[in-house]
């Protein structure tokens, strides 16, 4: 059984690491979560991004959500903001694509060109 007491243990355990997270200046990963995004599969994409960030201990990565950005046909949409770099917009993202975006772009700095907006027009 999960108990509230366990939360107190988590609190004690995490109090030390919390200050590191507080001044996160790293990458922002933003998932579109409006009606169009949710219908297209944004929730599992968000979940797999969260899992991957946790698995790799990416303490300076912030995962956030946004509403409709007016490109409903291209949802699920994920935007990656790296400090000092242009925003990269990934379209029609799946959980498998999300894993590559985290592993290759967020962690190694290599943009996954084939998933970016406009890649299909080339």
């Amino acid at each position: 059984m999960k108990t509230l007491k366990e939360l107190e243990e988590i609190r004690k355990r995490t109090l030390e690491t919390i200050n590191v997270r507080k001044d996160r200046t790293g990458t922002r990963v933003v998932v579109g979560m409006a009606t169009c995004g949710i219908a297209a599969g944004a929730r599992p994409v968000l979940m797999s991004i969260m899992d991957e960030v946790k698995k790799n201990n990416l303490a300076d990565v912030v995962v956030a959500q946004t509403g409709c950005i007016g490109m409903c046909r291209l949802e699920p949409i994920v935007e990656v903001y790296k400090p000092g770099e242009d925003k990269v917009t990934y379209v029609k993202v799946t959980d498998a694509k999300a894993l590559r975006i985290i592993n290759e772009h967020v962690m190694q700095g290599k943009i996954v060109e084939e998933y970016t907006i406009g890649a299909g027009d080339k």
Partner: protein, 184 residues
């Protein structure tokens, strides 16, 4: 939408947009009466009567990025396909309550789906908002309340802390599994 839990996620986002700081979600499965009732209640900025009347129409939205609002019409259609309905009660500056009903056994009813992922998505998307999720099956009840969790965590540790999210996931999964008699 493939799951009712996705409608819930979407409609609760309306509450967040409406500046609510408390959102109550309830799922009531009454197998004797063969009904499924979902309600989403918030203390956000609400709507006046005129807005409520218009909101079931897909061509009404206050958003600017797109001309049509879809969330409420989609839920209404899902209810009506299953001998149910969607009722909206709202009061300006007080809050809004949506009550969606379905015939539980209706062949066109989408499965409830993954409520745990829906709650996790809401929690990580709205750090300062509290959520209550009550799930009732016949008379049995499971209740999840972020205010209790915040209390146990104290002021400093946020709900978005990975270990806390893991705890919440297991807590909801376990609660729902108990409600269903051990099967998820």
């Amino acid at each position: 939408m493939k799951e009712l839990a996705l409608h819930i996620l979407d409609l609760a986002q309306n509450s967040i947009t409406a500046n609510a700081d408390l959102v109550r979600i309830s799922v009531d499965e009454n197998l004797t009466q063969d009904t499924l009732t979902i309600s989403i209640e918030d203390n956000g900025y609400g709507m006046d009567e005129k807005q409520v009347d218009k909101v079931k129409d897909p061509f009404v939205t206050s958003r600017t990025s797109r001309k049509v609002g879809l969330g409420i019409p989609l839920m209404l259609a899902a209810c009506q396909r299953c001998e149910g309905d969607l009722r909206i009660e709202s009061q300006k500056n007080v809050g809004t309550k949506l009550i969606a009903t379905f015939k539980h056994s209706h062949i066109d009813r989408a499965p409830l789906g993954n409520m745990t992922d829906t709650m996790i998505s809401l929690i990580i998307g709205a750090e300062n908002i509290n959520f209550v999720y009550i799930h009732i099956i016949n008379q049995e009840e499971f209740c999840f309340d972020t205010r209790e969790i915040r209390q146990a965590l104290g002021e400093v540790v946020p709900l978005s802390e990975p270990d806390v999210l893991d705890w919440i996931k297991s807590y909801i999964n376990e609660g729902l599994s108990n409600l269903r008699g051990g099967v998820l």
